[in-house]
């Protein structure tokens, strides 16, 4: 159990660091690599003087992202209900889960949640923040630039951090987008695909113990609930869409106000900092206990799921909107001022079109993290009085995936689990290809040339 918790945390943490470092190495400007070569910097010297300084900021920002991702998964990793039995390792995550699900103590849950948030903020402030300040000076722009500037009192401790302060001049969201959509060549994508295939093979091997037979396949899809899959996909997408629209609306309002008015920035940046620091999954039990008391189990879970999704999705959008509004070139703002664009006309003619590319990249990231969370948000496996001793679930792809993973056979089935994971991956890829990439291409010409 301890090992799987660490493995889960490792897999969720490793990617942020990996992509950060790869991005930073790719982001070393040609003029620097060329000048290094012309002065004979090769081999270990090149690594020491060029590569290492370039990846240090990315390593630290990746580590921060990873650290926060780790907190995000804390509850999922420490408290698991598998095939009807509860497995937990002692820790804050499992204590909070027990406080909420077993004791149903709202006060204790809130105290623990505040404690966890305070620990995250404190650690961020003490470690990552200082490391970032030390390393961000004097480096050229890495792919994921970590930089710090005054974002209110707690501002510099913000995890998943990009530039928020007044020093933003280029839309960092677009750098992130290009990381996802453009940076990798066809060969690199093929390599990544091959690595994924090998990984899937090994996972299958470990889960099934051997390569599955035809009979095993037949059994996997014999589950009567399997026919409901299209409905489940629709319901889950609907939940994500509702949460996305709410996040987009709020983040747009907050982001534009924070970017344009200092007094709103003074209010919203600290909210952002704290909101970012709260491990979203830790909110889940607290909200559930609170909502289910008022609205009953099923509707309470529905509300909890959407609220948790909103709180998870909103920050990427907020971050992207703020940095995009701040990156509108001053000349463009002057044009608006000179020709009398004010109020709503200014928003519709100038601000919204200028930040559309950032909204698309924010949406891409928000949906990504939303899929991550929905798997936990639709399923309340803990058998409590509130759930009449039964696991409480919302009909949807996330909960079906959970039941397929955690319940004993025939409901639980590793082959169907892999298939459902494939379905989610396919939906994510389809949305990226059919919606986000197309929109990004369409809005490419909206990029302001400076």
């Amino acid at each position: 159990m301890e090992l799987s918790a660490i493995l889960l945390l490792f897999t969720s943490m490793a990617w942020a660091i990996f992509f950060g470092v790869v991005g930073a190495i790719k982001g070393i400007p040609t003029n620097i690599t060329e000048s290094a070569k012309s002065f004979g910097l090769t081999g270990s010297r090149y690594t020491r003087h060029v590569v290492l300084p370039a990846i240090v900021p990315a390593l630290i920002s990746g580590a921060t992202l990873a650290w926060c991702d780790g907190w995000f998964f804390m509850i999922a990793a420490e408290y698991v209900v598998y095939q009807g039995s509860t497995y937990s390792v002692p820790g804050l995550g499992s204590y909070l889960a027990e406080a909420a699900y077993v004791y149903q103590d709202l006060n204790l849950s809130i105290v623990l949640l505040v404690l966890i948030t305070a620990i995250v903020l404190f650690i961020n402030f003490l470690t990552w923040h200082r490391l970032m300040e030390r390393t961000s000076a004097g480096t050229y722009k890495p792919a994921i630039r970590i930089g710090l500037s005054g974002i209110g009192h707690l501002g510099e401790a913000a995890p998943r951090m990009l530039h928020l302060g007044d020093r933003i001049h280029t839309p960092k969201s677009l750098i992130l987008a290009s990381k996802w959509l453009k940076r990798y060549t066809r060969q690199e994508k093929i390599v990544a695909f091959a690595v994924c295939l090998v990984a899937i093979f090994f996972i299958t091997f470990f889960l099934v113990g051997q390569m599955p037979s035809l009979e095993a396949f037949r059994q996997a899809f014999a589950d009567p609930e399997f026919a409901q899959l299209p409905v489940y996909i629709g319901l889950t997408m609907g939940r994500l869409a509702v949460a996305y629209i709410i996040s987009l609306g709020i983040a747009l309002g907050m982001g534009v106000l924070a970017a344009e008015h200092k007094k709103f920035a003074a209010i919203f940046y600290p909210i952002y900092d704290i909101g970012q620091a709260v491990p979203i999954l830790a909110l889940f039990p607290v909200f559930f206990v609170a909502f289910s008391r008022v609205f009953g189990g099923a509707f309470g879970l529905e509300l909890t799921a959407i609220l948790v999704l909103v709180l998870d999705m909103i920050w990427y959008m907020f971050l992207n909107v703020v940095s995009a509004v701040k990156s509108i070139p001053s000349e463009m703002k002057e044009v608006g001022q000179l020709f009398g664009l004010k109020g709503l006309k200014r928003i519709t003619h100038l601000v919204i079109p200028a930040i559309l590319p950032a909204i698309v990249t924010g949406s891409l990231l928000s949906w990504g993290t939303g899929w991550n969370t929905i798997i936990f948000a639709e399923y309340m496996p803990y058998e409590t009085q509130l759930t009449q001793g039964q696991p409480l679930t919302l009909p949807g792809l996330g909960s079906y995936l959970d039941r397929t993973g955690y319940l004993p056979p025939p409901k639980g089935n590793p082959i169907r689990l892999l298939f459902l994971l494939g379905v989610i991956a396919a939906i994510v890829l389809l949305m990226e290809g059919l919606v986000w990439k197309r929109l990004l291409r369409k809005f490419e010409k909206y990029q302001v040339e400076v």
């Binding site: 463009m332 002057e334 009398g340 006309k345």
Partner: protein, 261 residues
Amino acid sequence: MVVLEIRNITKTFQTEKSKIPVLDNVTFSVDKDEFVCLVGPSGCGKSTLLRIISGLEKPDSGEILFHGQPHNSPNPKITMIFQLFGLLPWKTAEENVEVPLEVLGVKEISRKEIAISHLRMVGLEAFQNTYPHDLSGGMKQRVGIARALALQPEVLLMDEPFSSLDELTAKTLRNLVLEIWHDPSLPTNTFIMVSHNVEEAVYMADRVIVMSPRPGRVVGEVRVDLPRPRTQYLRDQKYFQRVDEVVSILEKNKVAIEAAS
């Protein structure tokens, strides 16, 4: 007849740690139908001065008078062309020209007509539905000119309008601007242009106002009395004399500032 009076303008920018004086007691006036160029070293505040004249920036002290009346906020009668064109990338050439007209409340049919006729004036009628992304630098600046002229301003301010263009395109556009300035059928006949290219200033202006390094002050002016069109005088000694006069004022002030520091 005096159209614009710039009186004792002073401006200081405040940064987190220090104050940077940008303009120091700048005073001059511009007559109707006059073409004035402001030249000075980089950072001397000439672009800031142009923004104060347009109403985009407020001076710390001093005032701008337009036909004798205080002018301190943007006004369609005084409009501007930007160094980087300032076009909205999400609007076509025609829509870009239409935006200021829409703000003024011009009806859709009329503003479409006005936009097309002004695009025709700058030779871009075939590109009315093209987005800035697909236009060359010179074409973008033509749209910028059409957008400014569509408002029928009296005064046109230009902030280094040709500095981001290649020399051949810049030459063509300089002549286009001079044609517009010279056209008696257009109401826009008073031009103020900021430039750091002395030869360009002498080629275009009636009067070149020279500014000192930061904080910008008016340290001299050179009247250019060469007949127009001046294309034939570009190799003439008189032309080079005017250029030398401007350059010597710039050099003298640079030396004086260096000696003082």
